[in-house]
Symmetry: D3
């Protein structure tokens, strides 16, 4: 039996090595990357049985994505069909250049995925179903599919978790607000960045106030509000729990939020309380930033060493 | 003043190094690749002033394509607009695996290019305008644009050259036949592979017979029929001239035909006769196969050393 | 349900890139490599549900092996325990240097694996259980374990397949002969190289005669005798079927035999007759040689294109 | 028509990857590098039509330099002749090792370049002619050529700009002082590092005082005094304008000054006032430090985002 | 004649590039690494004639280790025999992941090295013999050998130096304490980390107090107590001398202590006083941290530039 | 005591990887390369104590050359002085492009080396002194030095060996003939390529006839005439011995002749007869061609396996 099923697009991420520019590079490093598969891997690393479900082209590119995710130990349940393999080009840089992303994900196979194509038993028998606000942004079909799968989970008694994840390169704030708030009724656990809560949903106040407002405005069981380098807080049972981010030497910031969310979910599904889950989330996120790629390829022992403040030296 | 203007799509070519499989590679080598820019570079290397014209996305990917082609010394006259950067994934292998290509070029920026967007003076003032059968296969818009640009060249007294280049992954043989033969009236120099002449146009007989038949069926000035590893022949003034391929240690076979065509055109534009141009074409094609990438990064001296049979040893 | 379960050691293979020497290299390419996991992947690629079972150290090295094999789509059922991760150093070279292997596999975790540690249901519910003559060569414990697992398979009605695979760097010919012939009674399908049959078992005659002799000397259902570059033949129901090797541009010869065996087994398990299985085996083996690493990362479509003689050109 | 023509040596820069030492590296990364071509590229990136003119050997090495610079979009007007391709070996390191340069540029082709070899129309029709104090340091011939080209520019009404750029590995401070101050009469815009003003020219005081002193001592239109990590200031019309450096995560410090100068020149040539040009210069310099190689491969949009303080986050 | 002979194991160090994880890397960088050969190279770089002596397998792996050390300019006097080549896997990471080491050094050839196998004249004619607390931790045989070689040195009037170097992955603190303190009587110069003095030997107080206590408890001529990022101090003639660490941009922290010790020894052997030797030690250690690999590939000029505070800028 | 001392320039060889062109490469592989050090290494690999002596710049580049040669196990006795580090750029390619070399060795430090600078005892106490026709081609000073060192060897009773090695990129055939034949009186063993004997010295006839003519024209003890892919023959005591080249899969042809010569010399110095030495020479040359770089990094066991025809298969 599966603890967690996640649903969403996984792209190939193509990035020049060593801070080179896309404009002049002769080489791309290639990795599988997608919020929902990132979350599945992080959850799996923290002890959950996790499966990622999606639709990919029946091509060496689609097979490459599935193969890489299998490597990290999660289950994969993928429809192979028509359409492109979504890609994104990533250029790493520090200040003031910053990391830049060029999406090339239009018409990806996943954009045609209808709810009927998926294995509803897989979702129904899981403890939790997870997707993000990226999925409905990808196509009208996916907008519908996202809603239907959330409803199917709900009907089957499977808990639902959702990361708001607003992407300005995919749709406008107004579209996102309308579409995503319409889904809020079917969601048990919401994860949202402070910036998205403010700029897309129009909430004011500090993250703590935003958490309370969101918690009381909808029927959420839990609301997690993330604050970038300043950690995250979680509203649950009308109480807000808070955890700072751990100090980290960042090698690759992409996927930090997904690492947090995957670990938080895994520990909640394993029965840990909210403060403990926040702790695991923050430690996993900090470790992720030391690892190249989108994915938190950590062990539970490493995460617990961060929490116990025993890591960071040479171990020999 | 420009001797040769070529028009067509240039893609990013993404290929795993060292015979690795796309399915498991962690790295892609990236290069600019497109029949018409390949031809422009080969022609330029053999002494022609060559400019490539096209449409690309206004993004680091589009700029990367233009930059690489500038590096090889040709002129570039490119509209930067909306749409994707076409890509293709290339997996190199010897027998029996063979080299495999996965196109990801749908909705490329070039597919929306209308004739009016281009600089007609550039074409009109050139000695020769060149495109291939790939261009009209990419979109209905490009089908129309190809015809209009060929007509514009004709009207301006610019000679026209065309490589048939049938691509089975882009359209059916029937579509190709109908579309391309409709363009034949506006073409002075046709290059066509024996296989395409047989399977798409239905010609029978050996390459020599096919050349004669094509030469007499249309108003071509010259018809070049290529025979893969067995060289090429050219019909001109009712005479067929023949040249064998040179022996070569192949490192990358892609772009061999374009190298041949670019060199043949350059030497014809420089006033050489058909047998001489065939010789340069064959030698450039042989050198191309020793060079990684689509492009014939050769010098005229190297080509002439091949013709003079003086190359292939260690020169020190 | 699983079609094929394989059991044996998988090592990390460390090889200098680009024909460099171990003595002066600054870099090793690293891949998972082991006869039994190679066979499982090849079988899986040709349509079988295949699972590899083994024992590995509970370390990043052990996890790396499991991860890579998961990537290729097979099931992995691995005991994580004490002991080393076996490695081997591989230096590629052509004539006259030849490819050289330096084993560093003593005291690998797998050498302590006892039959009781494994999931007998996994073996009992499979259609076929496979291991090789390498496994009992690794330790006295494994000698016993190999025998017990073959017996367990037999008792459960699971067919047994065995590749003789004599390794002169692991044990003497006399030891191998004594140990392996003692196992022959429990084996349904034997794969053996002509050289091993001659030099280790003392059989004389051509491969066809050897196949007949082996077939009548023991209770085998099938005996496959391989002939290196000259293909393989299979004795079954007192008839010998023969298939030449396909022509191939070799990039990496290691794993050729395992590719053959995996594909042969998969097609036999799928109900194909012996000549057809030989055909798939030979085609998979030929493709393997074009792929870096021990593993036949092929598709069934590619294998069938080799059989149909449609591969080897540029496909675009 | 060209806005800016720059003249000087461009070398091949050979650097070990990843902080390796020259003494033990097995690999060099290779890039084109030279103060005057660096300035041309930076100016071009900020909107100027820029052409670099020089002399290089007629060899694959010389062609490599020209090709790379063409790639970045500037014009190149190069005499191919006898002599070596100048190279320099660069070892990157942080504190306390520091970055070290080993020049191998003696007898480079450019050292024989006489003023008569160059296209005086190119210089005469440009808005501005630029070279640096490195050029006359390379050979007596170049000392003369530098003077003549500055005079030719002056005569044609082309503005002249000059970066003092003292290089202690090329000549003594006394030689530099004598040679370069003799050129000051023909220079409109001088760029000089505080350290050079102090140690080579003997000016005392803070950078602001130095700017005033230099401005009143000669007939300069503008004097820019750079202060390393503390930005730059510019004296113009007896007023000194000042701009701090932007914070930056340095990947490669080489070329920072050239990036500043190229951007400053481009904006001045485009009609911007001195404070605005300083702002663009500082932002371009900061971006340069995030990019491997000597060259500021930036876009105007990126520079303006730095000025507007909108960069440095993940953009997706 | 040799100034310094060092004795101990040198391993192959296998590390994924660019912060990759062992669990998913496809490549290892490979280097020779061992405390005693590290010390020999550092000493040699600072002017000592140094020879490293050990036992290695007679294989390409053993030859690779010797070859790399020869490259750095030390003498090597190595017995080639039976046994494994010790290796270790190193995963670099910043906070909070930290650098992790997986040893695979059991049964290395060196573990069987008996004192009689070595060239006692080499040791007897040297000024100083050096080994570390790692050597006796590797096998009972080496425990005996270490003691015998120290005695042989003593008998021949060769000074003895010893780095305590406790390795928790090799033996317990109790075993280390018992074994190593039994050797203290034969040691002239002891180097020990504050942490080891506290946790293994049970000393209390600050490093200065520990140095005094160790100095008076045994017959040491000199006791060096290292304090990680806070430098080192040395007790000699009842006086404690102190030196801070230099600021450094760390690329690879492994081998810092060995760089310190090698430089300290070299300068003491050359007749410098203790404060000067501490200065050289600290500067060499700081430079080491900017260099990939275990080894301090520095020059004496660089070390002296650090001491004179003249390094760290771009030198050109 | 040393068996063989060789004298000559060693360059840094810079070559693009994977058949890339110098004109477009972004990376050079770097190796030490020089006929005389190549010969020393090959001789050392075949059992001779060999030392290479030369002059190099006192820079990281010079140290890199010495370090790499130390790595291969030879002695190095090098004067560090003024001047450049010679380099050469090497572009590998198969037919018809061929391998191309661009020398950049003018004004190398070695060109100023005078006989007095070298250790005459080193030469005088060796069994054999070796240099090649490249050395006197590099400068007038070296022309004189070569003569003096050969005389010094002669006077000391050290045998002299000389490889004619005409390099058309360094001097004319007439100059070479005049200079080198003037040295013939002081040479015991001459190695010469058939092509050089014909084109530079004007000998006619087949290699066998050339050997006889050279043998009788001068006072040589032995004359070896090489025939490229067709092996070599040796005139000694008026008899010509002949040996074919071994079949080889060539990865890098540079250094084949030096490998032959080094092995031939080593075996002659060890007392083997001429036919045996030819055998070792041919086998070492064949192995060299499978190894990247100029240098024959072989073992004696491998060479003897080639002679015994036991190599070329996978050894495991």
């Amino acid at each position: 039996m599966t603890d967690l099923v996640t649903f969403g697009e996984t792209m190939l991420r193509l990035s020049p090595p060593d801070n080179e520019r896309i404009e002049s590079t002769d080489e791309f490093e290639v990795r599988a990357a997608g919020a929902e598969s990132n979350v599945a891997v992080a959850a799996s690393r923290l002890g959950a049985e996790a499966t990622w479900t999606s639709k990919l082209p029946d091509s060496p590119l689609g097979r490459r994505v599935v193969g890489e995710l299998n490597q990290y130990g999660i289950g994969t349940d993928v429809i192979l069909g028509e359409g492109r393999q979504g890609t994104y080009y990533l250029e790493h840089a520090g200040k003031p250049r910053g990391t830049n992303v060029v999406y090339d994900r239009a018409d990806a196979a996943v954009t045609t995925a209808r709810a009927e194509e998926f294995d509803h038993d897989l979702i129904g028998e899981a403890d939790c179903f997870f997707t993000t606000g990226i999925t409905p942004a990808l196509s009208p079909t996916l907008r519908e599919t996202t809603g239907k799968l959330l409803q199917a989970a709900k009907r089957a008694g499977t808990a639902t978790a959702f990361d708001f994840n607003y992407r300005g390169k995919l749709w406008s704030e107004a579209e996102a607000e309308e579409t995503l708030t319409a889904l809020f009724g079917g969601i048990d656990l919401l994860v949202i960045a402070t910036r998205d809560a403010r700029e897309v949903l129009g909430y004011e106040g500090d993250p703590r106030q935003i958490a309370h407002k969101l918690g009381s405005a909808y029927e959420f069981d839990t609301v997690v509000v993330t604050r970038g380098a300043r950690g995250a807080l979680a509203w649950h049972d009308s109480v807000v729990h808070d955890h700072d981010a751990y100090e980290t030497d960042t090698v690759d910031p992409i996927g930090t939020g997904d690492a947090f969310t995957g670990a938080f979910l895994a520990r909640r599904l394993a029965g840990d309380d909210v403060p403990t889950a926040l702790e695991y989330g923050a430690a996993t996120a900090a470790l992720k930033r030391t690892i190249p790629g989108d994915i938190a390829l950590v062990t539970r022992e490493e995460v617990e060493a961060v929490i116990a403040d025993e890591s960071g030296e040479i171990s020999r």
